[in-house]
Amino acid sequence: MPAKNYASTRYSELAEINEGNVKNLQVAFTFSTGVNKGQEAAPLVVGTTMYIVTPFPNIVYALDLSKPGAPMKWKYEPNPEPAAQGVACCDVVNRGAAFADGRLFFNTLDGHTIALDANSGQPIWNAHIGNINIGETITMAPLVVKGKVLVGNSGGEMGVRGWVKALDAGDGHVVWTAYNTGPDKDVLIGPDFKPHYDMDKGKDLGVTTWPPEAWKIGGGNMWGWISYDPDLNLIFHGTGNPGPWNPDLRPGDNKWTSGIFARDPDTGAAKWFYQWSPHDLHDYDGINEQVLLDLNWQGKPRKVLVRPERNGYLYLLDRTTGEVLSAKPYGPVNSSKGVDLKTGRLIENPDKLTGTGKVVRDICPTASGLKDWQPSAFSPKTGLLYIPHNNLCMDEEGVEVNYIAGTPYVGMNVRMIPGPGGNRGAFTAWDIAGEKPAWSLKENFPVWSGAVATAGDVVFYGTMEGWFKAVSAKTGELLWQFKTSSGIIGQPITYRGPDGHQYVAVLSGVGGWAGAIVSGDLDPRDATAALGFVNAMKDLKNATTAGGTLYVFRLP
């Protein structure tokens, strides 16, 4: 799985590459994916094979690591519907594949989940679960838990109703479907559901916290990360923003959008829920990674869930109950004034309320959040969470919008600008116990790549200019960097090769929402292009060009 383990720590025990020798890293081999769109996937290494999924058209490559130069073992082309490209909100990305029991599972942009024989690349089953004609796509990496392939849909900008499905790993049939809006029976809320806060208690809140029928086109999509705790037998997944973005068109708390569910993986039954951003005003999807840790919190051992959330807070939740233990901003936030730990509710800032016909300026963070999908890494050696993130603010104006199935349902003019300090990105090491940053590195562009931490006390991440960087896990000191052919927005990994040595791999290829200006050749003269992101990225075309190349490094 892309997140390394079910707890999603992205921490590797490998220590051959360390603070002292990382400066000697050199390229072991490269591989062109043949697709010049945003490469958000994590390469997956199982045994002596590396698997890569490209952005649309979602080609899967298997590379044989046991031979010099890692030649191609097989490739699989699913040939997704080209029209799917028009309904993918933020470039045509894919976040990777998952492996279990000799099979490789991945999703295609046009709404298929496919199981391949990992050895031969032959398809075993193909489940068509998303419909592009209502704007549904799939971009996430699946997670396999107890013989079930967990998948969710994208489409929060198209009025698509969010869901999570569990497909049988054996034959692909749908075992359960949990919607993230609508009546309790659709959301799989039953007698076991025990949310911690009063705001999440009541019957059919997925209907009653919306204007009539609005929940049917209300978003709440699940396109991010899922974690799993085998002891509690719970999966944890977030829910995306409510649609449309213009909040005037959906008075109410808009359950169960912009929140997080704990569910039983066998049945999908909800155990608890917590809402990061009730009645979301700024497109704060709640789908980021959840890092599961067992630690001492204020003297007591707690099973916690750490979530650097899009709304700008670093949440610590008790993962058995959904209680918020801590919520501190990890960067500039003015869209809210904190989190009330008694009620669990985000405290709105009355100066930053958006609505129809009103331009509200300088809202931080932006719609893309203080951090978007790009996953952080946790090192148990340092106790620090390494967070790749953005530093952007925005102006927003709500406008009327018509729902036309399969077309965008946003209703908001947005234009983004660099945040305080002018650096548009940052890489922050967060001291979880101390509830404060240990150090933070400024980056010119948003840090849209994932991070990986290692026992060698080296942390890796990439920048949108194309630098692949190794920094000290303790101090953040830059130890090594390599300029790749295009901007990096992928998830770096590290693995032990068949020769017993440690390797580091990353896909280079700019794109995603932040890099759409390059991968989609957008026009920087329109401040609202790419839902307003282009305004903050006007100069990216001068810094990098589109690409799609795998880089693998090792010590000499």
């Binding site: 029209a83 028009g86 993918a88 077309t407 989609g520």
Partner: protein, 177 residues
């Protein structure tokens, strides 16, 4: 200036203004159903490709009323959701000089009516034909292909870019933005 000349000038201006605003009082309500062939390529083996001419095109282009209607419809039918205010997003930029399927009124009309394979939906059954022409005229104004006397001026909303009547012709701008 002699009064006669001034009168003439005024009359000329008034006439020009008439054309600027000319419109049918009873627009056709038929859905997007025009069937004129519109080639999407410049290649025609061995010969000259006939340039498509639809007399509809001329009557919608350079007409302030139709352009402003096109601008309204661009938001109304969620074109702006995919193309933003011309800079692009899920769909390509429409304000630059690059055209995949052609920049003529006829080509753009066909694009909107029939859709295009890589994700442009077909609006054939959603938008009346005359309104597709209005949209096509407005799309051209985004790249400066409409007389500034007729193209929309100030926005009521957040200004995303200079108003259409101040847009330079993207093709002759020299360099890509």
């Amino acid at each position: 200036m002699k009064p006669a000349v001034a009168m003439l000038l005024l009359a000329g201006l008034a006439l020009a203004a008439c054309q600027r605003e000319e419109r049918d009082t009873r627009p056709q309500s038929a859905l997007g159903s025009g069937e004129q062939p519109t080639p999407v390529t410049a290649l025609e083996p061995g010969g000259q490709r006939p340039s498509p001419t639809d007399n509809k095109a001329a009557s919608f282009e350079a007409n302030a009323f139709h352009l402003s209607e096109g601008k309204r419809l661009f938001g109304w039918f969620n074109c702006s959701g995919c193309h933003a205010n011309g800079g692009g997003g899920m769909g390509p930029a429409l304000m630059d000089e690059k055209w995949i399927y052609g920049s003529s009124m006829e080509s753009i009309h066909a694009t909107i009516r029939d859709g295009r394979p890589n994700g442009m939906p077909s609006f054939r059954d959603k938008i009346p034909d005359d309104q597709i022409w209005e949209l096509a005229a407005f799309v051209r104004s985004l790249s400066g292909n409409a007389p500034s006397s007729a193209a929309p001026s100030r926005n009521d909303d957040m200004m995303a870019h200079p108003s259409e009547n101040r847009m330079p012709d993207a093709a002759t701008l020299g360099k890509s933005p």
